[in-house]
C-alpha cells in the first residue's frame, strides 16, 4: 500500500494547503471534472480547508450522475425481461429511473448481476447460452477500452447472446458545453487523470488555448488533488492558461495508443444526452454500425422508450455549477439519499448527498 500512503501523507497535505493559501490573491473557482476526485475532496474535507482560497465546483464527471433517465429506463426494461441477465457496475443499481431502480427490479425477480469487469459479462453469456446477457456499458473514456474489449471478444468468439446497452460519454465536449455557457463561472479545470491515462492530454490543448483556461491533469489521492489545485491556481495568478500534468506517474501526452485504437474499432462519436444537462453534440460513444448485432437498443427494440426528467430535479444546474445543492427547492425535502430524485443524491459522495450530510451536521452542531 506504499503507493497509496505516499499520496495521503497528512503533513505534506497540510503544507500544500498552506502553500495554496499563501499563493492566492483572490478566491478562484475551479471545477474537478471527475467523480472520483469529488469523492476524495468530500471524504478528506479538502473543499472545507481551502474554502477561503478556492470554490470547488463538482463537475459532470460521474458516470452514475450523467447517464440519462432514458437509458436507465431502458436498462430497467431489459432487466425485467425473464430471458435477460442484466449486468452492470455496482453503483448504477440504485440510480432512480422513472418508476424504480435496478435493485427493485431485482427484488421483483429480475436477474441483475454486479460485475467488476465487462469480460465477466461475456463469460456469463458463454455459460448461459439460453439467456440473453446484456452489459450496461456506461462511463467515460476510462471504462471505454474494457467495454470495447468485451464487445470485440464476443465478436471474435461468435457469441450471439451478448449485447451492450451503451451510454458512454466523453469529457472534452462536456467541458466545451460548460465553457460555452454564458453563465459559466469555472476559471480552471482539474482534468480527470484516469481518462487521460487512456486519451492523453493533446485534446485539451486547443480548449486551454481557445477559452484561455488552465487545465491540470490531476490524480485522485489527496496530495494529487491539492497539487492539482495549486498548479491551477498558480497559472491563474500568473495569468497563464496551459495544459499541465500533475498525474505524471500515470499519464503521457499521447495516452494509451492501443486502447485508443480498440475504442475506435468498436465505438464512434455520437450525440449523447446527459442527465439534467441535455444533449451535447458528439459527446458520447456509440457502437459502430458493423457491430450493430451487439447493440441491445436495436436487438430488443428499445428506441421507443423515452423518459421525461422530473421537473423538480435541478441536477443539471448543480452539475454545471449554477446551483449549490442546498439552493434546490427539492433538496432535503422531496429529495433525500433514501429517496433520491436525481443521481447526485444517490452516491454518498455525490454533490447533493455530500451537502445533505454536511448541512445536517452543521444544523445539529448549532442546535
Amino acid at each position: 500500500m506504499k503507493y497509496l500512503s505516499e499520496y495521503r501523507d497528512p503533513e505534506l497535505a497540510r503544507s500544500l494547503v498552506e502553500r495554496i493559501n499563501r499563493t492566492v490573491t483572490k478566491r478562484w473557482t475551479l471545477m474537478e471534472v471527475c467523480g472520483g476526485q469529488t469523492h476524495t475532496i468530500v471524504k478528506q474535507g479538502i473543499h472545507e480547508v481551502l474554502s477561503d482560497a478556492v470554490e470547488m465546483i463538482h463537475g459532470p464527471g460521474c458516470p452514475v450522475c450523467v447517464t440519462p433517465l432514458e437509458q436507465i429506463d431502458r436498462a430497467l426494461h431489459l432487466a425485467a425481461r425473464p430471458d435477460v441477465v442484466f449486468t452492470s457496475f455496482g453503483d448504477m443499481l440504485r440510480v432512480p429511473g422513472s418508476e424504480c431502480d435496478l435493485l427493485q427490479i431485482k427484488a421483483r425477480g429480475g436477474n441483475v448481476s454486479v460485475v467488476y469487469s465487462p469480460l465477466d459479462a461475456v463469460q456469463l453469456a458463454l455459460s448461459n447460452p439460453d439467456k440473453e446477457v446484456v452489459f450496461f456499458a456506461v462511463g467515460f473514456e476510462t471504462t471505454a477500452p474494457a467495454n470495447a474489449m468485451a464487445v470485440w471478444r464476443a465478436k471474435e468468439l461468435g457469441i450471439e447472446n451478448f449485447s451492450v446497452l451503451v451510454s458512454h460519454v466523453t469529457v472534452p465536449p462536456a467541458m466545451v458545453a460548460i465553457l460555452e455557457d454564458p453563465d459559466n463561472r469555472v476559471q480552471g479545470f482539474l482534468a480527470a487523470g484516469h481518462v487521460c491515462t487512456v486519451m492523453g492530454w493533446k485534446e485539451y490543448e486547443p480548449l486551454a488555448d481557445k477559452y484561455e483556461v488552465p487545465i491540470v491533469v490531476t490524480g485522485f489521492e489527496p496530495l494529487d488533488i491539492l497539487e492539482g489545485i495549486w498548479m491551477a491556481i498558480r497559472q491563474l495568478e500568473d495569468g497563464r492558461h496551459e495544459v499541465e500534468n500533475q498525474y505524471v506517474r500515470a499519464v503521457r501526452r499521447e495516452g494509451n495508443r492501443p486502447a485508443q485504437e480498440l475504442v475506435s474499432k468498436v465505438f464512434q462519436p455520437v450525440d449523447r444526452g446527459w442527465r439534467g444537462i441535455g444533449t451535447i453534440p458528439a459527446s458520447g460513444l456509440g457502437l459502430r454500425p458493423e457491430l450493430a448485432a451487439f447493440d441491445a437498443e436495436r436487438k430488443f427494440g428499445l428506441e421507443g422508450i423515452h423518459a421525461e426528467e422530473s421537473p423538480e430535479c435541478r441536477a443539471g444546474d448543480v452539475l454545471r455549477g449554477h446551483l449549490k445543492p442546498y439552493e434546490c427547492p427539492a433538496f432535503g425535502t422531496s429529495c433525500t439519499p433514501e429517496n433520491p430524485l436525481g443521481a447526485p443524491m444517490v452516491s454518498s459522495e455525490g454533490a447533493c448527498a455530500a451537502y445533505y450530510n454536511f448541512g445536517r451536521m452543521q444544523a445539529a452542531a448549532r442546535a
Partner: protein
C-alpha cells in the same frame, strides 16, 4: 432484534409498471443500514413493540422470577458456507454469544435451529456442527435445545442456522447503547473489515487473491475482563457486525443522542485496505465478526485498553474517537487535513463504485 438477508429467486416480474416504489423486500433491507432500520421501525416494532424490544439492544434484558436474564437471537446466512478463517458454525455460536456479551451478560445456554437444503453434503454439515461444538465448549455455553427442517433443493443456500442465547447478568454492569455520554472515549478491540472482505474474496464471480481471514471470535472474555477491571465505567458495548464500525457508532450516537467524533488512524489491515481500494468499498462499513466497540468513561481508558489487550482478539485494541455534545446523533470524522466528513449510515448495501 436483527434482520438478515439471503439471496433467493422471486417469481413474477413486472416493470416498468406503475407500482408503488417500495412494495416488497429488497436485499438492502438486510444490510444493517437505514433500510434495515426502517424495516424494523415501520413493520416490526409497531406490531411487537414492548419495553424490552424497544431498546433495540443486541439482546433483551428480561425479569425471570426476580432475576435478570438476557435473551438474544440471531439468524445466520452466509455464502459460501465455509470461508477463510471459519464457517457458518463459528458465526452461529460467536454471533449470539457476542450479542449476549454486548449486553453485559455471561452467556450460558444456546438453542440452535437449522434449515437444511436437500443435497447438502454431510461432510459440510459435519464440519459446521464440529465448529459449533468446539465454539460452544470454548465459550462455556451449552446447546440445550434445537430443531432441524429440510427444504427442497434451491430453497436454501445450503443451510441456515438460528441460535438463541440466554445469559446472566452480574450486579452493577449494565452497558447499553443509550448510555454514551459526552467525554467518553471510543475504543475498538481490533483490526476492522476482515470478515466482510474474507467473504468477498471467495464469493462466486468475484474471487480475488487476498490473504485475509475472517475475524470470527468470541468477545465474551474481553467483556468479562472489562467488567472486572473497569466495571460501570463501560457505558456502551456493540459488536461491529453488519454495516461495520460506521453503523455501530451511528446506532449508539442516535440511541444516546450524542455526537461521535473519530480522529486519527483507524486499525485497518493493509490487505483489507488494498481489497477495499480495488473494489471501491469503504472499510468503515465492512462487516466484522470479532470486533467490539466500547464507550468508556475517559478516566477508565487505560484500564479498559489493558483489559481488551489481554485477549487475542483484543491485542490491537485502540482509541478511535470521542463522544461530543455537538452534532447529536451523528458520527463525524476529522480528516488528516483538518477537514470533516460525516460518517452516515448507508441506505442499503454498499455498492462498488465505477470511479
Amino acid at each position: 432484534m436483527t434482520t438478515t438477508t439471503r439471496r433467493a429467486p422471486v417469481e413474477g416480474i413486472a416493470c416498468p409498471t406503475p407500482l408503488p416504489a417500495h412494495d416488497r423486500v429488497q436485499l438492502g433491507h438486510g444490510s444493517g443500514g437505514k433500510m434495515s432500520a426502517n424495516l424494523l421501525r415501520e413493520r416490526f416494532l409497531p406490531r411487537f413493540g414492548n419495553r424490552y424490544l424497544d431498546g433495540l439492544g443486541d439482546g433483551a434484558l428480561v425479569p425471570v422470577e426476580g432475576m435478570e436474564v438476557v435473551v438474544s437471537t440471531d439468524t445466520f446466512v452466509v455464502s459460501p458456507l465455509e470461508f477463510p478463517g471459519g464457517n457458518i458454525g463459528h458465526l452461529a455460536v460467536h454471533g449470539t454469544v457476542n450479542d449476549l456479551a454486548m449486553m453485559g451478560a455471561t452467556p450460558k445456554y444456546l438453542s440452535a435451529g437449522f434449515v437444511l437444503e436437500e443435497g447438502l453434503l454431510f461432510d459440510v454439515l459435519d464440519r459446521v456442527l464440529d465448529a459449533m461444538a468446539e465454539c460452544a465448549v470454548a465459550c462455556g455455553v451449552q446447546i440445550v435445545t434445537g430443531d432441524t427442517k429440510v427444504v427442497d433443493r434451491g430453497k436454501a443456500d445450503g443451510l441456515f442456522v438460528n441460535t438463541t442465547g440466554i445469559g446472566f447478568l452480574s450486579g452493577g454492569f449494565r452497558p447499553s447503547p443509550a448510555r454514551a455520554r459526552p467525554g467518553d472515549v471510543v475504543l475498538v478491540s481490533g483490526p476492522l473489515g476482515r470478515h466482510g472482505m474474507a467473504i468477498m474474496a471467495v464469493r462466486e464471480g468475484l474471487a480475488f487473491d487476498a490473504d485475509i481471514e475472517s475475524d470470527t471470535a468470541s468477545l465474551a472474555p474481553l467483556v468479562e475482563s472489562l467488567r472486572l477491571s473497569v466495571g460501570a465505567a463501560v457505558h456502551c458495548l456493540r459488536d461491529a457486525t453488519r454495516g461495520g464500525l460506521a453503523s455501530a457508532l451511528n446506532e449508539i450516537a442516535r440511541s444516546s443522542s450524542v455526537g461521535v467524533e473519530l480522529s486519527g488512524a483507524l486499525p485497518i489491515p493493509p490487505a483489507v485496505e488494498a481489497a477495499c481500494e480495488m473494489l471501491g468499498l469503504d472499510p468503515l462499513y465492512v462487516a466484522n465478526e470479532g470486533v467490539l466497540v466500547a464507550f468508556v468513561a475517559p478516566e477508565a481508558e487505560a484500564g479498559a485498553l489493558a483489559a481488551l489487550r489481554a485477549h487475542t482478539p483484543g491485542v490491537a485494541a485502540m482509541r478511535v474517537g470521542r463522544v461530543v455534545e455537538r452534532h447529536a446523533g451523528m458520527v463525524v470524522s476529522r480528516t488528516g487535513l483538518g477537514g470533516t466528513r460525516v460518517v452516515d449510515m448507508l441506505p442499503g448495501d454498499q455498492l462498488p463504485r465505477i470511479c
